[in-house]
Symmetry: C2
Subunit: 180 residues, 2 copies
């Protein structure tokens, strides 16, 4: 789901050039034929930490990248949905699970990927889940059983570390951090 | 800075069609010639609530939309920067001001615009500012003097309302809400 460099104008199909438009400060894909400027911006990944008691529900990835590694249910935020609605959708799609959201937990800038992650805390409404098309397996883990060496993304590993630390401390706070 | 509907493939310039790709669940701009899929996602607006004592720094817009109305310094997050770096950049560009960030304050889903706003609290490092190219004026306001009827965006008005309520209460918390 990565967009490659823009070569043609989305409005008219002509080849674009990269230049700094008037009144702007950085190069954009500008169409010399029709004048359209195509902007590129970072994208949001929305997901949930689905909890059942002291345990957290993880998904084993059935897709690249990081096939076979474990992750929290999360994916690209779509046009027309809020971050919360997107997080619930991804939990349904990847883990076949329903959660009650308990608030925003982590906001992470993943700079190498030009992505911003949003993780919400969620309470499973019942101990029920099912691997979706993008998951090989879905499983509850106590902190002691988390496969730390097989977590798919640093954003997920660092979120889980903070989550279990907060769980042990007995209170949750919002975490904002960057991954460079 | 709004992207119109995608009509041509950014990779090869051929006309695209909207259809649901295999394994996907919603229509995308698909290129029948080269197979490229162009995804569209919500975009982030990053900004600051610049504080000087009990006062907040607002900018009078010199650009459309909402020319002549007041707003917090904020703008589109750019490729290659974090939400924090983008918020500092916008404060510099629009208000000519330097702030020390004091943490994430508001995360707002503005659904009609497909935008997510991030507002950080900021402390002006000195009582100094200057209207940038996109501002007609920049001014400090006490709560009692905020021109509520001339605030450019609902996201900004609702953030300022929460901010001053927290200021009166003596403690700040993160606010997450939707504007439908
Ligand atoms: Zn064009
Ligand atoms: Zn193409």
């Amino acid at each position: 789901m990565h967009n490659p460099p823009i070569r043609h104008c989305t409005a008219c199909g002509s080849p674009v050039i990269y230049r700094v438009p008037e009144g702007d400060s950085r190069p954009r894909a500008v169409c010399p034929a029709c004048g359209h400027i195509q902007y590129e911006n970072p994208r949001n990944i929305v997901g949930v930490i689905p909890a059942w008691g002291q345990q957290v529900l993880l998904c084993k990835r059935a897709i690249e990248p990081r096939y076979g590694l474990w992750t929290l249910p999360a994916g690209f935020m779509e046009i027309g949905e809020s971050t919360e609605v997107g997080a619930l959708r991804e939990t349904r799609e990847e883990a076949g699970a329903e959660v009650a959201l308990k608030g925003l937990y982590a906001v992470i800038n993943v700079l190498p990927a030009n992505q911003v992650y949003f993780f919400y805390r969620g309470q499973l409404t019942q101990p029920q889940w099912q691997a979706g098309e993008e998951s090989l397996d879905v499983q509850l883990f106590h902190e002691a059983d988390i496969p730390w060496e097989q977590i798919a993304f640093r954003s997920v590993a660092q979120t889980l570390q903070r989550y279990f630390a907060d769980l042990r401390a007995g209170h949750f706070q919002i975490h904002t951090f960057d991954i460079a």
